[in-house]
């Protein structure tokens, strides 16, 4: 039994396996199937300053080895989270991390500020793939300038661990990673979904109500892994890798590429217990290869 503990900055994980925002509810949805305390952390749903109804139906399309979603950040807002959800999740014996989303820099800042005070929320994950409504809807995370802007503003008010989640829909993701590192991000997570589309040819209409949506699942894994490798080479802060992880082998690929921890998203839908299996599989791999600690495989790719 190797040592699976890992630290992401000040965030202490019992193992590097966490679940991705928007794919694991508030964790409680999965408690019938697994012991939530066995994983390193849970990234809860995208949370915004005010309640959002999200996008109209249909919001989902299956694609080859993946899916498109257009949920559109449906959530009841940060105050509801604090008053009604936080009490039900704060005693889960793992890290509960809130994914913070917004439409303006001010939104992010206010939401982060409110979460600052919650004792059992050790970190937030800034989802900078949201459209910046003041800048014509371009996602914050697609330019160094707007990414830096939102991170520096949030950094000023948020004292705990600040994870910035990068958008993959960019020419050079390490450039964005460097920009947010410079503004005080404690770590970065990647990737969010790739922008995709599907068409119903019989009806000659887009499948999703929003025309385009976010692609996730194993289809994106090669792209995600490449980006994690590029970012891990570029920055000094820890990197959390995700995108298409279905099993322990996939998770280990991300760690070898330089991720200190990983998140599992879409795979939860196919096997709600997959995260536990990934913990066990990583442990088995470490033992088989004679590693004492999971830290030994981070970035251990031989080029």
């Amino acid at each position: 039994m190797a040592n699976l503990n890992i630290n992401i900055g000040r965030l202490q994980l019992k193992n590097p396996v966490m679940t991705a925002s928007g794919t694991f509810g508030y964790g409680t949805e999965y408690s019938d199937f697994m012991d939530l305390s066995r994983i390193g952390g849970i990234f809860v749903k995208g949370t915004t300053l005010r309640e959002r109804q999200g996008n109209p139906y249909p919001r989902m399309a299956e694609t080859p080895s993946g899916m498109l979603n257009a949920v559109g950040l449906q959530n009841k807002g940060v105050d509801y989270f604090i008053n009604h959800i936080y009490p039900t999740v704060k005693d889960i014996d793992t890290n509960i991390i809130v994914n913070v989303s917004g439409s303006t820099v001010e939104d992010y800042v206010e939401t982060a500020e409110k979460l600052n005070s919650l004792e059992k929320i050790p970190a937030i994950e800034l989802n900078i793939s949201c459209p910046n409504v003041k800048e014509g809807g371009m996602a914050f995370g697609t330019s160094c300038l707007s990414a830096a802007q939102v991170v520096s503003s949030v950094r000023r008010v948020y004292k705990n661990e600040l994870i910035v989640k990068l958008s993959p829909n960019v020419t050079d993701i390490s450039e964005i990673a460097l920009a947010v590192e410079a503004e005080g991000a404690d770590s970065v997570s990647l990737i969010n979904t790739l922008l995709g589309m599907a068409i119903n040819i019989e009806r000659r209409k887009p499948v999703l109500s929003t025309i385009t949506g976010g692609l996730s699942g194993p289809a994106v894994k090669p792209v995600a892994l490449r980006m994690v490798w590029q970012v891990a080479k570029a920055v000094k802060i820890p990197v959390i890798g995700l995108g298409g992880i279905m099993n322990a082998a996939d998770a280990i690929e991300f760690m070898l590429a330089g991720a200190s921890a990983i998140q599992i998203g879409t795979a939860n839908f196919i096997d709600p217990t997959v995260s536990i299996k990934v913990v066990d599989g990583i442990n088995e791999y470490l033992d088989r290869h004679g590693f004492q600690s999971v830290t030994e495989i981070i970035g251990a790719l031989e080029i």
Binding site: T23, Y57, M60, T266, F269, I270
Partner: protein
């Protein structure tokens, strides 16, 4: 209700027609409690084009035989794989999911269960429940043609069965909502499942006759357990998940134009 991930065993996979199959599943352990209207998320193995699980209604549960029935209509590769499963194969299911149809409040209430196409699936188990609780059950089942009206004898165990077919090969010709039964009788509770246009027509009839009406909605689902928020429908309370707050909705909650 506690949800389970189970590897059930195929006891029998009965081809009912070109398009329909009845899968009878069993387990070495006692099947969990399941309510009428609930569904399962079924993992599809060995399909190169199917990635997500597939939601399927609980067609029937026979606790004496420890059997769970699924009624499958083959529409794509996922359901094709299901129809091709053989006895002794295993099937991974997550269940029971979703809410359920609600029983009438007064014991004397008359219940009409209206189903079309594969939408008849949950009505069998619902009929069995209602009958056991002492209600008078009437089924009104519609299909394109006689060969798509499946296992009527099963429904007859729990109530009177009326049918319509579009081509007139069984029962009255036309759509369920055109059946003569609807002119005479008066029902207190109407439960329906099937294509949306049919359910809307049923809802209109229910509204007109002031019957209580519950419909079971389909939706594109990724998780089936309320985690992904992909399966919303618009209600008077805003967007709610069909997989947790449904699939059964009282029509008064929906924003249907009826």
């Amino acid at each position: 209700m506690k949800k389970f991930i189970l590897d059930l065993k195929i006891k029998e996979n009965r081809k009912l027609s070109d398009q329909y199959s009845l899968i009878i599943l069993t387990s070495t352990e006692k099947l969990p409690e399941i309510l009428p209207g609930q569904f399962a998320e079924v993992r599809i193995d060995g399909s190169s084009t199917t990635f997500l699980r597939r939601p399927l209604s609980i067609h029937y549960v026979d606790y004496e035989q420890n059997e769970l029935w699924l009624l499958i209509q083959v529409v794509g590769d996922g359901t094709k794989r299901l129809a091709a499963l053989k006895a002794e194969d295993s099937l991974n299911v997550i269940l029971p999911l979703g809410n359920s149809y609600t029983e009438p409040e007064t014991k004397s209430a008359k219940a009409l269960l209206v189903g079309g196409g594969c939408g008849v699936a949950p009505l069998l188990y619902l009929g069995a429940h209602l009958k056991r609780s002492g209600f008078e059950v009437t089924f009104l089942l519609g299909a394109r043609s006689k060969r798509d009206l499946l296992q009527l004898c099963e429904y007859e165990r729990f109530g009177t069965v009326y049918t319509t077919t579009e081509d007139g090969t069984h029962g009255e010709q036309g759509f369920v909502t055109q059946h003569s039964l609807l002119n005479g009788s008066n029902f207190d509770y109407i439960y329906t499942c099937g294509p949306t246009p049919m359910m809307k027509a049923v809802a209109r009839y229910a509204a007109k006759t002031k019957a209580n009406c519950e419909v079971s909605l389909e939706n594109t689902m990724a998780c089936g357990i309320g985690a992904c928020l992909c399966c919303v429908t618009d209600t008077i309370n805003g967007h709610v998940c069909v997989c947790t707050e449904g699939p059964v909705f009282n029509i008064t909650r929906l924003k249907w134009q009826i």
